[in-house]
């Protein structure tokens, strides 16, 4: 099922100057379950939807702590994310040992960006198959970056990655002003609302499948999983996707979501494809 002759490796340009292998790597992100990040003036929140391969299996970790002041959330190939998170942890430790200062979030994000770029210009490897949200607080305040396998890193007020993430992004765009001034709790709630919008029809957020993390100015990185998540889920009126509920309490949602390119495509719900998480 080759699409063309130019997509076999990441060192060949197509006649229009595209790099298909890199673009395919970006597709791998969409195979993973969704994750959402947002940043206020004081806090960064990462939330994620975890998957389990089978009913009795454990859920794949989606949020990884890097240091007291920084964490990442992933969508795509989890093993690739572990490689990158190990690298980030090394960078963070090095910054503390050599400079006696916490690693700057910008430097952290660009360090993995430059690492990922190498895999798009040299033969022998493949690009990373994972997208990351890098969130943390440093001397210049809270920051949220979106990392892509292409080596692109951009700073956002709010970002979403993974399956049906466009729906989450739509909510974030609509709540942009709220996000900027939100309190810690409001920020978590907005994050969960965006994550909820990415859910497939028959799914809802549960303490088992939801991860929440917070880091703030004067607040160390904290990850909430399992029963600790319940307090945050209790903030929501419902844990099911508003699009899939019969109650039309938020009718304006419908129009927005139909414009999302990948919304509702994956109707099989949370069945993992290619082991992406």
């Amino acid at each position: 099922m080759f699409r063309n002759n130019y997509d076999n490796d990441s060192v060949t340009y197509s006649p229009t100057g595209r790099l298909f292998q890199v673009e395919y790597a970006l597709e791998a992100i969409k195979q993973g379950s969704a994750t959402v990040g947002l940043v206020s003036k004081t806090h960064v929140v990462l939330v994620a939807l975890k998957r389990n391969a089978e009913e009795l299996g454990s859920y794949q970790k989606k949020i990884i702590e890097i240091d007291d002041h920084m964490g990442i959330a992933l969508a795509g190939l989890a093993p690739d994310a572990r490689v990158l998170s190990n690298y980030l942890r090394q960078q963070a430790m090095n910054s503390k040992m050599v400079f006696n200062r916490p690693l700057s979030i910008t430097k952290a994000a660009f360090s993995i960006a430059d690492k990922a770029q190498e895999n798009t210009q040299q033969y022998g490897g493949r690009p990373y198959g994972v997208g990351l949200l890098v969130g943390g607080v440093d001397e210049t305040g809270p920051h949220l970056f979106e990392f892509q396998p292409s080596g692109s890193v951009l700073e956002y007020h709010g970002a979403a990655l993974g399956a049906r993430s466009q729906a989450g992004r739509t909510l974030l765009e609509r709540s942009l002003e709220e996000i900027k001034t939100a309190s810690r709790q409001e920020l978590i709630k907005l994050g969960l609302l965006a994550l909820r919008d990415t859910l497939a029809q028959d799914k809802e957020l549960t303490a088992a499948n939801t991860s929440v993390s917070v880091v703030g100015i004067d607040e160390k990185f904290t990850l909430y999983d399992d029963e600790d998540v319940q307090q945050w889920l209790d903030l929501l009126d419902s844990t099911a996707n508003s699009r899939n509920r019969d109650t039309h309490d938020a009718p304006e949602d419908d129009n927005d979501n139909t414009t999302a390119p990948d919304a509702g495509v994956d109707t099989e719900g949370d069945v993992p494809v290619q082991d992406a998480d």
Partner: protein
């Protein structure tokens, strides 16, 4: 010392016996590897003391080649960014190497063209890692340094780091000969942080200038020309005064010293 071309720089046979030429001809089987064994051109003490609103540092401008006063225009107080001063004593070529390392560090820090974020606590940590790394390779940078400045939270930083990777912090620090001669004088005024909080800027400058004078009296590797830096917390500023002189000295006692000045018959 013999002054014949073949023996230049070696101890005289009369005093020390014949020179063991194996030392100079030593090869790799006798010494698998040999690195810096001593400094060559040296700078003497750097002294620093805290006062209620900042820190005063001073270092003279001499570069000594052994006992020869070889260079009289060496600047040993280096500004790093706009909130740090590094005062360096010891080997001058290693000082110049550190100057380059710190310059590279500043360039790297400003790559993003964002607000500079290289503060004294970072410079001190980095410098001490460089020192420790080099000494662990048995190839030290032969210096002791004082790092002073205003931290990211605008607090005072006054710390020491040397060729062994040793570090400490104190309200009064001196390197080299100053550790013997200036420290007692500095501590007479500033023993604790509390003492420092009572000392005014004028008193601190006066104290440091007096120490520089005493050091010039007693330290044969010093010169009466020096630089003095004043770091001020309230002004958020560092001023470096260059070419200062030791003043109001009295040298009448010198004529009683044997070997001083013209030969005494």
């Amino acid at each position: 010392m013999n002054h014949g071309p073949y023996d230049w720089g070696r101890p005289s046979d009369d005093t020390y016996g014949a020179y063991n030429h194996q030392i100079a001809a030593a090869n790799n089987s006798q010494f698998p590897k040999m690195n810096t064994q001593q400094p060559i051109v040296t700078g003497t003490s750097v002294i620093a003391v805290k006062y209620q609103d900042g820190i005063v540092l001073a270092a003279d401008n001499l570069g000594s080649y052994g006992s020869l006063a070889r260079f009289s225009d060496i600047e040993r107080l280096l500004p790093v960014g706009d909130s740090t001063i590094v005062g360096i004593s010891g080997d001058i070529s290693d000082l110049q190497q550190i100057e380059r390392i710190l310059d590279d560090l500043q360039v790297q820090d400003s790559y993003d063209m964002e607000k500079p974020n290289l503060k004294p606590e970072h410079v001190h940590e980095y410098l001490s890692r460089v020192f420790y790394n080099r000494r662990s390779k048995m190839d030290p940078l032969w210096n002791s340094t004082i790092v002073a400045g205003l931290s990211s939270t605008n607090e005072l930083v006054l710390k020491y780091a040397d060729l062994l990777g040793v570090t400490y912090s104190s309200p009064a620090i001196a390197t080299g000969f100053g550790a013997h001669l200036a420290i007692p004088l500095l501590r007479r005024k500033v023993e604790t942080e509390e003492d420092a909080s009572k000392l005014t800027e004028e008193e601190a400058v006066e104290l440091v200038r007096n120490c520089m004078k005493v050091l010039f009296y007693r330290d044969a590797r010093s010169i009466d020309k020096y630089s003095l830096a004043v770091i001020s917390q309230s002004r958020k500023k560092i001023d470096i005064h260059k070419g200062l002189r030791c003043e109001d000295m009295k040298w009448e006692f010198a004529k009683h010293i044997r070997g001083y000045g013209a030969p005494q018959l």
